[in-house]
Subunit: 227 residues, 2 copies
């Protein structure tokens, strides 16, 4: 039995590729630069990956799986919540019952988890935003965005039927607001070195979107109950 393959060559290539992708996008990342960063030759790349696109495809699949997990986690968590705490109606919202407050806390936690996923894959997100036309990933992000907008739209419309959300806003527009905001935050993460306080972002966005930008004094006094 002959020469052994470098055991950590593949993960080194993936790491170097992510760095190159982050720098210059899918097209701007040259294979020779990726391999050079690992002390390998161009040919070595093709021992581990079908092509540059194939490597990126693996990353995209991981990212999509992660985001998809966030979505299923959300529906599952809400289902469980309704099972354990019963349905949350308009009165709960109006009176800020403990049940409602727990639901808000859960929602914020789930949003934070989504932001966390975006932070970990912000390099992949950056490449997807830039798109790199001519590759299979041209519209990948926008398909994901459409899916997310529709998911938000649907859940918003459900809440509208239950009268726990205002009914004079189309769900589509609300979805664009949510997804657009999170997407831009993700894009801005691309250029950050230190991780921002994602929990604070999630909580503040939740407050802003639920209660609006007007001063809190104007809301009816029942609403606030801060310790």
């Amino acid at each position: 039995m002959p020469r052994h393959a470098d055991p950590n060559a593949k993960e080194a290539l993936v790491a170097a590729a992510r760095a190159e992708f982050a720098r210059g996008g899918l097209r701007g990342a040259r294979i020779e630069d990726i391999t050079a960063a690992c002390g390998l030759s161009k040919g070595a790349f093709y021992l581990h990956f079908e092509s540059k696109e194939a490597l990126f495809g693996e990353l995209v699949q991981l990212f999509q799986a992660r985001m998809s997990a966030c979505a299923t986690d959300r529906t599952e968590s809400f289902r469980k919540f309704a099972e354990e705490h019963g349905p949350v109606g308009p009165r709960d919202v109006q009176e800020r019952t403990p049940r409602y407050q727990e639901l808000v806390a859960l929602d914020v936690r789930l949003d934070e988890a989504a932001l966390e996923a975006m932070w970990e894959y912000r390099d992949v997100l950056g490449v997807l935003v830039r798109g790199s036309q001519g590759t299979p990933f041209e519209g990948a992000l926008w398909e994901l965005v459409d899916v997310e907008v529709n998911r938000v739209r649907k859940s918003f419309e459900d809440l509208q039927c239950q009268r726990t959300c205002r009914t004079d806003i189309p769900g589509e527009l609300f979805g664009s607001l949510i997804v657009g905001t999170y997407l831009l935050l993700g894009i801005r993460m691309t250029r950050m070195y230190d991780k921002p306080d994602l929990a604070a972002w999630a909580a503040q966005l939740h407050t802003l979107i639920n209660e609006g930008s007007q001063p809190v004094d104007f809301k009816n006094s029942v609403a606030r109950s801060k310790p």
Copy 2:
């Protein structure tokens, strides 16, 4: 005096180029396709433009100028409004005075104008989003986005000082919400054939962001005054 230049060659090239850019981005648009669409040869392109990037640069400048005009128009309109109607304070917001309602209407009109500009340049916007690494336009959109986020942040912080906006949200996050929402709507315009009802979008977004997503019944009753 000899052969005349085709008088509408340049505008035909611009139109064809915009169509090609919309299809495949800056990189995906081939010069031969652009000229072929006008019944011209490849060489003719270089009689009118320095390069493909130069043509796109002209479009970007027009787009940037248009967006910049929207911004100056906004500050100017608000200045004039304050001059004519006096400053709008927290009480105006709380009691929905006619002065406040006029300000809201003005704000919505200005937002609609910005959406209109994005609609007209949605092809350019699409290319800028996709970025086309290696060109001078790589980060052009994100610079514009940063400028806009900061503009919104600053005006939001001013309103916070005047107590006409809630003070528990960082201006940066509010800016990301506004710009992110409008950017995503712009991106989604890229794939639309018919112009959506931009006035409705502007008005609904304004309502949603000001008053939040909670049912209107919960707001204090002074607030609503719909004919």
